[in-house]
Symmetry: C2
Subunit: 253 residues, 2 copies
Amino acid sequence: MTVSSEFDRYPKTGRFLAGRLRSEMSEAEKTELEGLVVDTITLRDGARAIARGDACNWSAILIDGFVLRTLENGGRRYAVSFHVPGDFVDLHCFALRRLDHNIDCVGEATFGRVPHDAIARVMEQRPHLARLFWFATLLDAAMHREWIMKLEQSTVPKRIAHVFAEIWRRLEMVGQAFPDGFQTPLRQSEIAEMCGATAIHTNRALADLRRNDLADFRRGEVRIRDRARLEDYAGFRPDYLYGEGSLALRRAG
Amino acid sequence: MTVSSEFDRYPKTGRFLAGRLRSEMSEAEKTELEGLVVDTITLRDGARAIARGDACNWSAILIDGFVLRTLENGGRRYAVSFHVPGDFVDLHCFALRRLDHNIDCVGEATFGRVPHDAIARVMEQRPHLARLFWFATLLDAAMHREWIMKLEQSTVPKRIAHVFAEIWRRLEMVGQAFPDGFQTPLRQSEIAEMCGATAIHTNRALADLRRNDLADFRRGEVRIRDRARLEDYAGFRPDYLYGEGSLALRRAG
DNA sequence: CGTCACCTTGATCTGCCTCAAAAACCGTGG
DNA sequence: CCACGGTTTTTGAGGCAGATCAAGGTGACG
């Protein structure tokens, strides 16, 4: 089942868990999920889709575009994670009731809206799908953890390399990558926000990466010649993304 | 319902969600949860309770002690979060199947073990309790996000202050804090691992905090005179901990 | 009372920040 | 097609937080 054929049949949710546990979803579950989306909404670049403290009675799945999960403190914005199409960006909100962070669009982004009572119905009537929903939110936590380690460990050029490696893999899983890189609406200032660096230093770090032929970022496009070299440089091990086949089992406890 | 009376009646799980949504749990749910724990296990200081890549068919709730959630890379260990009694430390494992990180004991720690088929039963028969389980794992994600922001934003002394502020609050929620601070088995080297700093620099930063009368850490004990000052210095806003009453609603979307 | 683990101190070096400015790019309207 | 203003990227110089290397202390415990 390719990503694109799934997307033809389920235009709003066909990328959900693509490359991960989507293979575990029955057609009935896929249909159910597609039916949960009551409407779609498209927001422009820079728009704040959801703000910290909002109480929502619906959750949003990202259908198209790129968003940042951000926190603000002392007047500055910090990106704590990002999302690609197929990600159920604030499924959290169902269990948390109110969000602790913002969802900001980078470039134009289209969301599908799912009312919370529909999710509650899934919890009651479809435990397997509920478990997949849970899984999807835990994926975010796993990515957060990797990011914490990355921030604790590496210099800015390596952090950027790691971001690039992760974006590339995740876009690939949902069928939106090129063989030699990917497109992205991110600006340097936003990469800086993701890496805990200033835009100026990020610019110099990007120049380093270019000079060392690790990654070539320029306005909206990232080109990478040698994936293994980039991932090695970044200390990127994709298993935390829980792609199919990764993080191989070691033993049953 | 005080933490201690709950703990008398539910000696293994009485601190679960204490200070958060425990008030939402019915007695039947509390009893059900207590019954999920089939046995307990006590590990010594430094023991690795769960290792990355392990496939588990059970999850662990921390009954007593302090643990770190860690990742390793390039031979070094990085702490990405910590847990206090009452935390269902690897509930994740139920939905993720295999863990992306380690759980390491700091000091002696006692866990209750819950088989996954028991959790599956909860998913099917007790949607409300299942939702609380989900909530508990999302709490971890919210704390991760705050940590990412902290790492992106602050200097080491502020990070340490933030760790102290968070530990204190969380211990308080489960009834294990003092009015003027808390006890902790953490060593300076472990605080360093939590803050993405070297032990040496952490030592100097701790000296700073002491000199400025913000926090006095010494072997196993942290004393804080002026909580507001510490929290203010750290930029600590406790709402992300989702304690009762915090992160007030702004509007219904 | 010696050993081991942990904490403390000193000196040097580097990654990244800040302030300041210029150059390239992009959409718009004439 | 070019002139224009705003946004994004690039470059330069100086300073500080934190890393690294290298020793000393200090306390707990056999």
